[in-house]
């Protein structure tokens, strides 16, 4: 087995695969549903934002390990952050996926484990799907059901 497979499916990712955090949807939250049509990854992300703070993040869906674990990690990292902080973290995450270490790496918390994705370019869209949904929810106050 080439080594980097284990880099991809590392401990943290495996943890989130086995025990996803904040999984399951809650009625009344802002909701966004996104898909990667070519591969069938399918994620719904929800947020509850009060006074500029993300008080809750939920997610549900189906897909590969990278996609599902990343939704779980995202929910944990963004929960409790202000909308502004969260937007910055999401931008950092996109940079990370491209292989660029962000200035403030601590801010990414567990999401840092996706650093190796840039060695697996076809999987970048799996890792970012839930984050794209989260980013869109932050920008769009109403939330909507958009498929890509």
């Amino acid at each position: 087995m080439p080594n980097n497979i284990a880099d991809l499916y590392n401990q943290v990712i495996n943890e989130h695969r086995k025990y996803p955090r904040n999984k399951g949807l809650i009625e009344g939250y802002k909701t966004l549903h996104l898909k990667n049509p070519s591969c069938g990854d399918d994620v719904t992300v929800q947020m509850k934002i009060e006074n500029g703070v993300i008080v809750d993040v939920r997610h549900d869906g189906s897909g590969c390990v990278i996609c599902c674990s990343s939704a779980s990690v995202m929910s944990e990292v963004l929960k409790g952050k202000t909308v502004e902080e969260a937007s910055q973290i999401i931008d950092d995450f996109y940079e990370l996926i491209k292989g660029n270490m962000p200035k403030d790496e601590d801010r990414l918390e567990d999401a840092i484990v996706y650093l190796n994705i840039h060695n697996f370019p076809p999987r970048a869209k799996c890792a970012t799907l839930a984050w794209r949904a989260a980013g869109a929810l932050l920008v769009d106050d109403e939330g909507e059901d958009a498929d890509e």
Partner: protein, 402 residues
Amino acid sequence: MQSLLNVKKDFPVLENNQDLVYLDTGATALKPKVVIDKINEYYNEYGVNVNRGVYTLSYKATTEYEETRTMCAKFLNALEKEIVFTKGASNGLNMVALGFGMDYIEEGDEIISSELEHHSNILPWMEVAKKKKATLKYIPLDSTGRISVDAFKKVLTKKTKVLAITYVSNVMGYISPLEEIIKIAHENNVIVVVDAAQAVAHMKIDVKALDCDFLCFSAHKMMGPTGFGILYGKYKYLKKMSPVEYGGDMIDIVEKDSCIAKDAPYKFETGTPPVAEAIAFKEAIKYIEAIGYDKIKEHVDELTRYALTKLSKIPGIKIYNPTTEVGIITFNVIKAHPHDVATIFDEHHIALRAGHHCAQLITKWLECVGTLRACIYIYNDYSDIDKFVEALEEAVKYFEEW
């Protein structure tokens, strides 16, 4: 082990990627050097437009281009005027549904298709059915996922007008029993549209013997260039069929408030075509015919048998089509999502496809989110299969343990 074709050296992609195991022929076949050389010949030696200029180079390009039509007609046992140049199978199938079906289908009519279809042979008909208030019906598949003559008879009614059916399934690798189905369809005045996109790489197609009314395929799946394909139609139907696109080349006479289109096949061909691709397609036909479909079948069958025997010994995987007929093996690692497994294959430089293969209906029928698909073709060898099986064993083990 039986002696196989030895053609790897004909394929520059394999020469330039020595450790590549290419098992994604279902998506597109690799191109032999003769095809690539012909594309370059066009651009280097006479790269001008066709059907326009009266100068020597234009004549040369047009001659080369029209020779493809002649060769395709011979290849399919059709007439030249029955050969329409398209952008590929999807384009051709859309032209038939939207240009012929949209006029031909009336309210209350029935269109029959199957869950084995690629989206390109079902969605255009779904659109026709919706617009014309017709009904789209599906041939019920048997327990292995096959289309049978009896199942076709079950959905056939007096209202059936069109059958849109695949010759070979791009997911299951089954050959549809078309000869008999077409005979029955015609006894019931049903027009038959055949998607031969996968078939053409594996079997001799004789449209006269098959007696299909329309048949489409892409050049790129039979080692020809991308962006080019063939629509065959019986001339009596091509004559009736409306063009979907209007513009230059396809028209005879233009007045301020009317125009007269050329005859088939030219009325379907507007705009500057992919000239190099059309010209180079001849080389793909010559290449495939020089090898011979019987030899291709022997080679693919032997490697498929070899692969299936090895795969049957791996626990933890599911093969969806153990009775595949054209080297397409569709499977999953039971404990893992197909995309996670695909990445492990990718790390081993094994190219194969994961997902729903543009055939969501059969993926749903198989009751899974997606599948992995390994397609065996003439440039694969025993060593490719060994590497594929080895990587799969590692993947099974990897996802078993975590």
